[in-house]
């Protein structure tokens, strides 16, 4: 059976076997014990032609309520931000798209330069000294940060604010299981971390205090105060932040963060049902040799020309093996490229505008929605582009009703926090228009009436 993805014809196979000196491909499999051979074809569906496959895939896609067919007010870690049109065209260029990790730098300067640009942009936004080439996603970035804090301080506890995305906490717990690092909570009763309480939890065993801002509920945390609390106990401060907000919000590094991690999906990466995403990871200089992941550095070639290479690799698994700072190998370089092109496109003014518009529209929406009888804002604390709404009816049911009317109403919080079972987390980006917000409000009003 000829496959369009396999070049060898039977004729060529014969010629090649002749050169090899084998009578058949079967002969090349002698090392495989007969009893271990699969005696039958694989039990998967038979090959289908491209047009039939496209029909099948479109049918599957059509069963999903996406942000094109619906007006999206969902967030909680993945946002419907504007994606400039050049990104997809540029990342699709085969030389970027089908290259591997730049092990041969002379033949990979394109990738290396874009990563170097990316590191620069992320460091600038987060207010940190150095950023790496990416981690899988925001959650695994936080997990790596926890392990890095553990290694850097030799301490065994991580204190996480309840304002940190619960999904990130679960991932961090998974990574901390092996090293036996203990996770402790810092309460956030009114939507923001109670730092007074946190201060008491943070102690000599604490490797790091972790907060997120805006946090999972959309509220803004007091980073400077958190830094004080952490540093007072000799712990590091890890801040989870969404870089797309950092055109308007201060870079956590400027407020005392030692490590900044976050989800970079908002920087031009498609939501794609949650992956691939972009794990942002930045730190202070003194931590650089403990950082996980790839780092690209500038150097010179034999003729003294500027060039770029993967550097400080003695941190990494392929050299340090069991003693590596992390096990990461493949990362999400292509998503980092999307973010690089996004940040180049938005630039100094554009990113500020994105933040300003998102905040403005979110606050308009919050005001408008909170006017609906029985609906109110759950928390009083200042928020940025996302907020928790208290509803008079079960959020799950309200959301599914609105879905039928073309709205992705938000994220019901019950599964994340039982005490917020009556809340819907609503996110508003710069893409939402006043008209869409008003229509959403009208629909919600009916749905909860």
């Amino acid at each position: 059976m000829a496959s369009r993805y396999i070049a060898n014809t039977p004729e060529e196979q014969k010629r090649m076997l002749g050169v090899i000196g084998a009578a058949s491909i079967e002969e090349l499999l002698i090392r495989i014990p007969g009893k271990a051979r699969l005696p039958r074809p694989l039990g998967i569906a038979a090959s289908i032609a491209e047009t039939d496959l496209i029909r099948h895939m479109k049918a599957l896609a059509a069963r999903n309520a996406d942000a094109d067919s619906h007006v999206c007010f969902m967030g909680a870690g993945s946002y419907d931000h504007y994606v400039p049109s050049p990104i997809n065209h540029l990342i699709s260029r085969g030389e970027f798209f089908t290259a591997y990790t730049p092990y041969q730098p002379e033949a990979s300067q394109g990738t290396l330069r874009t990563i170097y640009e990316y590191q620069t942009m992320i460091a600038e936004l987060t207010g940190m000294d150095v950023a790496n080439a990416s981690i899988y996603d925001g959650a695994s970035s936080l997990a790596e940060a926890a392990l890095m804090a553990h290694a850097a301080t030799g301490r065994t506890e991580i204190v996480l604010s309840r304002g940190v995305n619960p999904l990130y906490k679960r991932v961090t717990a998974t990574y901390c299981e092996g090293p036996g690092v203990r996770l402790r909570d810092a309460a956030a009763p009114e939507g923001v971390t109670d730092l007074a309480v946190a201060k008491k939890t943070v102690g000599p065993k604490t490797a790091a205090l972790v907060i997120q801002t805006p946090n999972f509920y959309g509220c803004l945390e007091d980073v400077a105060a958190a830094a004080e609390a952490a540093h007072a106990a000799g712990a590091l401060l890890v801040v989870v932040a969404d870089p797309v907000n950092l055109g308007v919000l201060e870079g956590p590094g400027k407020l005392g963060a030692d490590i900044v991690v976050g989800e970079g999906q908002g920087l031009g990466v498609p939501m794609s049902f949650g992956g691939p995403n972009l794990g942002v990871f930045a730190a202070k200089n003194d931590l650089v040799r403990r950082m996980p992941g790839r780092l690209v550095g500038a150097t010179v070639d034999r003729d003294g020309e500027r060039g770029f290479v993967l550097t400080l690799q003695t941190r990494e698994q392929h050299i340090r093996r069991a003693k590596a700072t992390s096990n990461i190998c493949t990362n999400v370089a292509l998503c980092a490229l999307m973010a690089t092109i996004y940040l180049a496109t938005l630039g100094r003014r554009g990113l500020v505008r994105v933040g300003e518009l998102s905040a403005a529209k979110a606050h308009y929406a919050a005001e408008r929605l909170a006017k609906i009888p029985g609906v109110s804002l759950r928390f009083a604390a200042p928020f940025f582009k996302e907020f928790a709404l208290k509803l008079p009816k079960p959020p799950e049911r309200v959301a599914s009703r609105l879905a039928r009317q073309g709205f992705l109403a938000g994220v019901p919080l019950k599964s994340f926090d039982r005490s917020l079972g009556d809340c819907l987390l609503v996110a508003v980006t710069e893409k939402r228009t006043k008209a869409e917000i008003d229509a959403f409000a009208a629909a919600l009003e009916k749905a909860v009436a």
Binding site: E12, L53, M74, C329
Partner: protein, 487 residues
Amino acid sequence: MGAGAYDKLIFELSSPGREAFSLAGADVPEADVRKILPEKHLRRDAPALPEVSEFDVVRHYSRLSRMNYGVDTHFYPLGSCTMKYNPKINEDMARLPGFARLHPLAAEAVAQGALQLMHELARDLAEIAGMDAVSLQPAAGAQGELAGVLMIRAYHQSRGEKRTKVLVPDSAHGTNPASTAIAGYEVVEVKSLPNGEVDLDVLARVLDTDVAAFMITVPNTLGMFEPRIVEITELCHAKGVQVYMDGANLNAILGITRPGDLGFDVCHFNLHKTFTTPHGGGGPGAGPVGVKAHLEPFLPVPVVTKDGDEYALDWKRPKSIGKLQAFWGNFGMLVRAYTYIRTMGPDGLRSVSDNAILNANYIMKRLEKDYDVAVAGPCMHECVLSARRQKKLGVTATDIAKRLLDLGFYAPSTYFPLIVEEALMIEPTETEAKETLDAFCDAMIQIARETETNAAVIHDAPVTTPVRRLDQTKAAREPNLRWTPRA
């Protein structure tokens, strides 16, 4: 121009006031953040990002791309990385709005298509590997390894066993020991036989009740199938030791043999190797992990389940090791792999491995006179050569790699596996044509000749690339990890 002549970074194109973005003005009453948000949270001054036009962006990144070799433009025999053709239809499917624009927290009822795709892909991967269950959540092979070892750990704990060590051959990929260490185990390196095979005597000696797992790669990193693999897994099981298979080399055995049938308890898949999802200059990938039934309770949450025609995410799994990334896996990559598997079918996948093996053996045969072969063939999907003969004449594996760049080929993996001196690990994949393999072999043979007659041209290489050999030492000694305006 040789795109090489281009030496700009995006920041160096910046001109104050230029704009490449397109954003509508505010349509809501209050748009001034200073009025909306407390001062203390606000950035003092705008971030120092470039200010360029859209055309600046397009031309800059188009030009940078031309400074790369990619599979679309160059033969890329990077051993262990399975740099095969990435079908364009995969890209079209992954970009369907119903997939690319789907929010991860969309209610199950309005994400049935995505959940069905994941359920079917997991089922297919389980069948391909002879495993009972598969989690699609790991973002890459290394994370699949971590998940696998953590499941083994949870399994032993659930049986009240405190095992502390994991055995890893000295030929293993670096992520194996690294993942194992993160999972909280002491890594015990097991010396391989000179031919790269597991030394059963050594193994028998180190296998004790402290050992939680033996983690090996099949075919191994020398491209050889472990002939006594079944004995090995039986030997381990006899000692209550779980056996993990690093599935990075799965491209060699599709439809021929299955990890599960070989006795493995766990194995991961690299969809970005075997299943044609693009590497994108380093990632993203996807590293699903498959397990036998006894490990199923420990799978990461959530698990995609099917009940009648309804698909759902099952979170109620008390024994689960937890989560590995925030959401469900690298879905965009899953769509591509699913598209590929549907395109190939059982016969197609089988012929993938047949031809991957044929191509590797063909290269090995054509080069065996001019280079030392690490292990006598037949090999599986890749072959490892040693440049030790050339080394004696002052030409290293690195030199050969650089010269290949000038001759129009990306380089094989070098210095991996560590147990082979001056290793050149060559993986052609099934998607390459004989004439390409011949051109590559001719180039390799030419380099072997040049080693004897004209080593200078090798030491000078590369000269056709945008830059020549780069100073790695300077890069590490004086780290320059972000751009700053040239004074």
